[in-house]
């Protein structure tokens, strides 16, 4: 697992040597700032709940942008052949790449901490709800990133990788709306798969084992699929 760290730190450095990282950060923080102002102005409540809901919506669109190049670019440039002919396990490659995207995402999340500071300064916010909210948004983002990493492992075209990640993530995100077309067990399944159904509890301060299992097993499922995809050279 030592290689995971080596790969992750190299990847993270690559994120910050390309302008994309800064553009993504500046853009999303600008949007968050405007929304934060509007929400606080309207609600006059010291909670970040609505903020989390908006962040969640933003990350649906941001995650595939973080992840589209993860494997697609390596395949395009032939460096995947280099990585896979060094004595590095495929799982180490997947975890290293995944870790770097998650850390990048975490940095972005940490940059929203001032919102909490502002609330704390002007009133006394519900600290546990904010912490669980951050946990929820982190798990959800990490889940979306796992999906994006997986689609990136299936193609050498970054656009295709991003678009297929959007399809998967939007299906999970909007599946609440699809529920009414089903009944019985399929409906229960669609209901269970909906990300929003699992994230909303975190935002109001509730952490349940079922929600934790949903996100963590989702992450491991997609990382395992990614490993299988690169192991079997499903796309060269």
């Amino acid at each position: 697992m030592k290689k995971t760290g080596i790969l992750a730190s190299k990847e993270l450095r690559a994120y910050f040597t390309s302008p994309i990282a800064y553009i993504v950060m500046i853009l999303s923080l600008s949007v968050f700032n405007v929304l934060f102002y509007m929400i606080i102005d309207q609600n006059r409540e010291a909670v970040l709940r609505d903020m989390f809901l908006l962040m969640e919506f933003m990350f649906v669109f941001l995650a595939p942008i973080f992840t589209m190049k993860v494997f697609a670019e390596e395949k395009m440039s032939g460096t995947m052949e280099f990585l896979q002919t060094t004595p590095t396990r495929n799982s180490e490659i997947v975890y290293g790449k995944y870790l770097s995207s998650v850390v990048f995402f975490l940095i972005l999340l940490l940059l929203t901490a001032p919102y909490y500071a502002i609330l704390e300064f002007f009133s006394s916010p519900d600290v546990p709800a904010i912490l669980t909210g951050y946990l929820g948004i982190f798990l959800e983002g990490a889940f979306f990133i796992a999906i994006g990493v997986f689609t990136s492992a299936l193609t050498r075209n970054q656009i295709v990788a991003a678009l297929s990640a959007y399809v998967l993530i939007l299906l999970l995100y909007f599946s609440v709306g699809l529920e009414k077309f089903f009944s019985g067990t399929p409906q229960a399944l669609v209901h269970y798969l909906s990300v929003m159904g699992h994230s909303k509890n975190f935002f109001i301060g509730i952490v349940t084992t079922a929600d934790l299992i949903y996100f963590i097993s989702g992450i491991f499922l997609f990382l395992t699929l990614t490993r299988i995809a690169i192991e079997n050279r499903l796309c060269r």
Binding site: K3, L7, K10, L83, T85, T86, P87, R89
Partner: protein, 315 residues
């Protein structure tokens, strides 16, 4: 070092590799020759355990490429067809990264990186971004990556592909400078490259080894030495002089009495042609030029790969 038996590789229904048997000893330098699509890259990818075989048994350094692939990869340095480089990385950072991935302990990494930079003449550009280097330098960085952990087996897929003649000379020198204790396999279309330092040349055609040629033996075995003459004089005079060498065959005669180009095949095993010169001196014929083109592996290669070769035919 390498042993491969009954190796077959299919892409779908398309058989691209069918190697009955291939062995390589420690310290051997082997060239893979073949036209585009012959299967060189596929074979190399199998040896590096990047591609699985469809069937067959391949062992590298005693390890099975399918079952012990991590151990195989620890001992193999590989320059793939598309130089594996990250354009945004600085040269020495990339080499450090490669070293760490190849299990070189952190303590020894700086020394190994410095050694590779030295060997590949990269000291001047060690702090430059790879994407801004010229193609030749990028190729050297890719070679440096392959040798960073002193691999027992070094596999170079077209190391001089797309370089200008000077850079080709440079890279060739570089490969020669590598200590030759290790086994090296080089694939190329530039035949002269292999001739210069390979001890063995494997000619691959349509996925099969059609010739396993040791360069210790003279290429004459594949045909007689050639002689090229440019003469001024009458055709009958020339023909009578040529009769002193009954084994020789005229393969071409062009031009007029002023300048006539004659190409000869001296015949199997023949190298000298003193009697022919003596005979020519006795006539009115003037000798304008005598050339003995050294029999090129290139000729052998083109002859073997061009025509329709029957399967498994030995030449």
């Amino acid at each position: 070092m390498i042993s491969a038996h009954n190796v077959k590789k299919y892409f779908g229904n398309n058989k691209v590799l069918d190697i009955a048997s291939f062995e390589a000893r420690e310290g051997e330098i082997i060239g893979f020759l073949g036209l585009n699509g012959a299967g060189k890259t596929t074979f190399m990818r199998i040896l590096t355990s990047f591609l699985p075989t469809t069937c067959g048994d391949v062992r590298v350094c005693g390890y099975d490429v399918a079952k012990q692939s991590l151990l195989v990869r620890r001992h193999v340095g590989y320059l793939s067809e598309a130089p594996p480089l990250y354009p945004d990385m600085v040269v020495k950072d990339f080499l450090r990264f490669a070293a760490r991935l190849k299990d070189i302990p952190a303590r020894q990494t700086p020394a190994q990186v410095a050694k590779a930079l030295d060997l590949c003449n990269l000291n001047g550009v060690a702090s430059r971004v790879i994407g801004q280097l010229s193609k030749g330098y990028r190729q050297r960085v890719a070679i440096a990556q392959a040798i960073i952990n002193d691999p027992k087996l070094l596999i170079l897929d077209e190391p001089t592909n797309g370089l200008d003649p000077l850079q080709i000379l440079d890279v060739r020198k570089l490969i020669k400078n590598l200590e030759h204790k290790r086994t090296v396999i080089i694939s190329t279309h530039v035949l002269s490259e292999i001739e210069e330092f390979a001890q063995r040349v494997i000619i691959i055609k349509q996925g099969r080894i059609i010739k396993d040629h040791s360069l210790a033996e003279t290429p004459e075995a594949a045909g007689g030495a050639k002689l090229f003459l440019k003469l001024r004089g009458k055709r009958p005079d020339i023909e009578s002089a040529l009769r002193v060498m009954p084994d020789a065959a005229v393969t071409a005669m062009t031009g007029d009495d002023e300048a006539r180009a004659v190409e000869l095949d001296l015949g199997k095993g023949r190298e000298s042609y003193n009697e022919l010169i003596e005979a020519l001196l006795r006539t009115q014929v003037q000798i304008l030029e005598i050339r003995k083109p050294s029999p090129k592996l290139e000729d052998v290669f083109i002859r073997l790969t061009k025509g329709p070769t029957k399967e498994g035919q030995s030449v």
